[in-house]
Amino acid sequence: MAPVLELRGITKRFPGVLANDHIDLTVEKGEIHALLGENGAGKTTLMNILYGLYHPDEGEIFVNGQKLEVRSPIDAIKSGVGMVHQHFMLVPVFTVTENVMLGEEYVKAGGILDRTKAANKIREISNIYKLDINPDAYISDIPVGMQQRVEIIKLLFREADILIMDEPTAVLTPQEVEELFKIMHTMIEQGKSIIFITHKLGEVMEIADRITVIRGGKVVGSTTPAESDLNNLASMMVGRDVNLEVEKSESVPGEVVFEVENLKVLDPLGALAVNDMSFKVHAGEVLGIAGVQGNGQTELVRAITGLLQAVDGDVRLCGQNITHLSPRKITEIGSAHIPEDRQKDGLVLGFPITDNLVLNTYYLEPNSKSIWIDQKSINENGRKLVQSFDIRTPSPFVPASNLSGGNQQKVIVAREFSRPIKFLVASQPTRGLDVGSIEYIHKRLIEKRDEGCAILLVSTELDEIMQLSDRIAVVYRGKVLDILDAKYATKEMIGLLMAGIIPSEEEKQKLLTKKKQILMT
């Protein structure tokens, strides 16, 4: 039987770039085919060609053995190819039904929309695929994970057989990812085929039936999870040997640099997001804050960096009470902050890289003298940092918006690390980055720790927490449930705490000794 989808020799040139270079790809019926590659490897271009958004310079597309000319997404949908975009294409003020119907409306006599009929079909689809969607809910009221399901329903509604999912897990919490994977399995059972675009290795190993790795616009290999392992995939993807394990020596904790005591912070809706948290961070150690997203981490970080007012409790940095100080004062005492959302808080995208590198030091010598900006000194500083932090850019004077995510993050790291700091808050420091950048930023964080900086690492990626931290504080609903020694902490143990289950002392010892025994042998 012919494969569901076959791409032969797809080539696409953009001015100055060969985005896709004779790519061959075969997807069999009922498989999850992972398309793995770093940002900019050409995955999205390839899928946009398949979806009819671009026209290939060379190459052919076959669906069920038949040659296909895709001129527009309409052709693609007609032939059963559908795409879930990384950024959803939904109208927030419309209901689920209205969004799904958009472009393929059911009408009653007289041109009146038949919402009931459409809603019924959506309920039916929702039941088959266990999507648990309420057709009458408004998009603006439902969480991101649900919105993604609406995108999936849109495709199933149009009877797509091949679903392209572009980085579907990038916006999801770990639980939502689990649920998405379940849904993907159900779709496979119902005879659909899925192309899963990602750069996350763990997910590929977990869910894919087959894996095609793309690098620099070319297919560099095809494999299955059984025949491969993480390191192998990573080096295929990056093109050199990659060390996924972070090399670090035993930490040498010094005195307490940073301390939070009985901190209480409200979220924008007025609920207690941080509820009586206390912990200490020593010089030369990484304290990891583990927890499912939305358990008070964001508010905690905003409160200790002065961006949000705490309602109760104390925050101390280097012996000084900073609870009610302004962000600038806190920065001046020696605190650095890698914000969770780099584009929103960390950078002015329209400014050149040089200016972004002095975003919080522009008013100090030598960047300025009295009220006058010293552009020469800022440019000099920029050139130096671009080089020493390996920021990949044609020039230090282009706007930060021109950089890739990894390089944008490097700009922030360069800025924060280039001034004398005693304490660093790193919030989701590698979210959405490619393997190379993750490796780089992890290395820099450990270097900073070894220099004697106290580091508070907040991340929802459990692997990252376990790799970097010396101690791990697990938060649940705004409280620190336990602080574990990273040496003995197991994924199981942290997982239980993340779900809000506090194991009994006996169980805890059992879980911890298990790790100890493994370490001994």
Binding site: K344, G346, G350
Partner: protein
Amino acid sequence: MEKTTENKKKSLSIFWDEFSRSNFLVIILAIFTGILLGGVLVAITTNEVYAAFRESIWSGLGAALRTAWNTYVALFTGSVGNPERIGLAFASGDQLAIRRAINPFFESLVQSTPYIFGGLAVALGFRAGLFNIGVEGQIFIGAATGVWAGYAIIGLPTIIHIPLAMLFGALGGALWGFIPGLLKAKTGAHEVITTIMMNYIAFRLVDWLLKFPMKDPNEFTPKTPWILETAKLPRLFDTPIRFHIGFFIAILMAVVVYYLLFKTTWGFELRMVGSNPNAARYAGVKITKTTILAMVLSGALAGMAGANEVLGVNYRLLPAFSSGYGFDSIALALLGKTHPLGVILSSLLFGFLRNGARSMQLAVGVPIDIVSILQAVILAFIAAPAIIRTIYRLRESKHKEDLVSLRSWKG
């Protein structure tokens, strides 16, 4: 040898490559296209053209071209001057004739001056992410406070009286900018709404001032007294040329605004708040302080536009004296890409068009509104560069366009 010419060719093609993608070219082409469309419009609204078309297509086309050409010639001579007349005047050596011949050019500069002040006011606001619609009202208040200082404060030497009166104008405008700035910073009230409301208050307040406290008792209609000689902005030539030093004050302010925005720490903060207020907060900038100060300075510049008009041109305040300078300023600040130099250039364009339009109406009977349409068309093309790029087959700019971010629109 051959290689150098080849290199030259290559560098030329690279230059053209970059040039054809730049925004500057889009602006030039937008102006050009606007003028072209304006010509068509003039032709199709002229009766003679229809009459000629009834004869034959060719004579119709000829008449259409002739009408458009005559209109633009009139626009040119009205705004720059008639070269022939200037030549004759200089040849005759008659001072008055020379001044009359070159007057259109200087009158255009006089028209441009309030535009420069107003455009700078809007541009400064834009850079801080604020949409100051209230420039018109701030001009009225600035004119009222400026004119008051001009006639009510007596016994000062010129060297003190002029700066003082300008300062009064600036303070009046600043106050009118401060109120929306404060409301925005403290309560989050949107400055578009509040500045529009402040406009109405300003218009009616000035109406009332003219009718009662500031009314010249010797006049029947609402007018203020004449300002004192010591407060008048000196004119550089004798009558009929009204060109005065206000133009140079405006240019000076453009330089000041340029340095403020791009060379001082405060300008860095202001642009940061305008581009990304979240990052500005993260970097330790006080948003409320910056917002209020930006509105105050924006208002002050607008107030100077008003003071400039009463101290340099009218010498007294009359009702409805501004005729929409403030609203045009919003458009020309955008046309100038919210850069002080751009504001000067687009102010000159607006000033010359406005001035030329008047004599165009007199000379060839084309209504003055054609210039408004011309301005509107040019702005529409600038606001939608895609149209110009499509018409002239220009390629997309390589770098992302430095769009004016109006975060305030997003709430």
